[in-house]
């Protein structure tokens, strides 16, 4: 499986990458929403792991955009944020954006997240 990790925190991105590679998945890291959209333009991914608050283009803007294109309208997305518990997106928005799951960085380590979703 090919994963796109969109996270502006380099350490969390690196840990996610290591956890995915350990399970023999392919990974591309994007540092913010705009980089993530660029990556989606170039390559087809199976799953996106998305931070919520990022400079440049946040998760809502990112989701709005990818859900407007036919090739990414059903792309599975998991939100992974320090704000997952206090956030952010309403249940209706999560449903609207077809978000498969939302996980808090303070409760779920990158490795645990990958164990849960792969």
């Amino acid at each position: 499986m090919k994963y796109l990790v969109v996270d502006d925190h380099p350490k969390f991105a690196k840990m996610l990458r290591a956890a995915l590679l350990a399970k023999s998945h392919k990974v591309v890291i994007a540092n913010d929403g705009l980089d993530g959209l660029d990556a989606l333009d170039k390559t087809r991914f199976d799953v996106v792991i998305l931070d919520v608050y990022m400079p440049g283009h946040n998760a809502v803007e990112f989701l709005n955009e990818i859900r407007s294109y036919p090739d990414t309208v059903d792309l599975p997305v998991y939100l992974y944020s320090t704000h997952a518990q206090s956030v952010v997106l309403t249940d209706e928005q999560l449903q609207q954006y077809c978000v498969r799951g939302i996980y808090d960085k303070s409760k779920t380590t990158p490795r645990q997240l990958i164990d849960l979703i792969t």
Binding site: K11, M15, Y53, P55, G56, N58, T82, S106, P110, R111
Partner: protein, 241 residues
């Protein structure tokens, strides 16, 4: 600066302030927890280099959290006259070098270089060494974090009349009004392109520390370039060479 009109406004401001602090502390604390659990799980299988890297990450995140708490305590101390605010001649070059070496790990993590243009190199300002160092560190960290691509961050120091301007120049997202308000002492819980969801607590604290040194902090943007400038009174020049 925004005026507080009534108790309800005060309560809102306090709520926003606490929210911002909680947000800024949650990221480094979450990272400490994640790396610690990973290290525990990988005991016996991780290489020495991996274990060493994990401990370095924990220490770095601990430093981030502690720096924020220390800045909050410092600013509280300034307000309540329990912190040192005496101003002495301080070498700008030395403080910039000191901060830059402290942030080498962060630069490496973000793949970012920092360039310097300091004229005159021997310039000294009237400042508090600790407050100046923390102010420089906060602005430099922001620039390192938010710059895009491979472009280096530029620190430019130049004399203008009887003042010295220390500018931190990067090509990151343009700073929002919330961030500019934060520098002037007002925190708003608004979405900021640069500060990822909440207004900049670091900028708020930096603004307070610069003001305590009777300096000013300003922001300009042009052609997708951001320039934060601290202005302090110059004392005299020393020749280092």
């Amino acid at each position: 600066m925004q005026r507080v009109k009534n108790n309800s406004d005060k309560a809102d401001i306090l709520d926003d302030f606490l929210f911002t602090i909680a947000h800024d502390l949650k990221a480094p604390l979450s990272l400490i927890r994640s790396v610690s659990l990973d290290l525990g799980d990988s005991l016996g299988t991780a290489t020495i280099a991996e274990v060493k890297e994990g401990f370095t990450d924990i220490a770095q995140s601990g430093d981030d959290a502690l720096s924020l708490v220390q800045d909050l305590l410092t600013v509280y101390g300034l307000k309540n006259s329990t912190a040192q605010t005496e101003l002495f001649p301080v070498s700008v070059t030395q403080e910039i070098n000191k901060v830059s070496s402290e942030l080498e790990n962060m630069m490496q993590l973000h793949g970012r270089k920092v360039k310097f243009k300091i004229r005159p190199r021997g310039a000294m300002v009237l400042a508090n060494q600790w407050l100046l160092r923390r102010s420089v560190s906060n602005l430099l960290q922001n620039s390192i974090k938010y710059s895009k691509g491979k472009k280096p961050v530029l620190i430019e120091v130049m004399q203008t009349g009887k003042s010295l301007e220390l500018s931190f120049i990067d090509n990151g997202p343009i700073v929002s009004q919330a961030d500019i308000d934060a520098m002037d002492g007002t925190l708003n819980r608004t979405t900021s392109k640069r500060n990822a969801g909440v207004s900049g607590l670091g900028l708020y604290l930096t603004g307070k520390m610069v003001a305590a040194m009777q300096g000013t902090i300003s922001y300009k943007t042009a052609d997708d370039i951001n320039r934060f400038t601290i202005t302090l009174p110059i004392v005299h020049q020393l020749s280092l060479f």
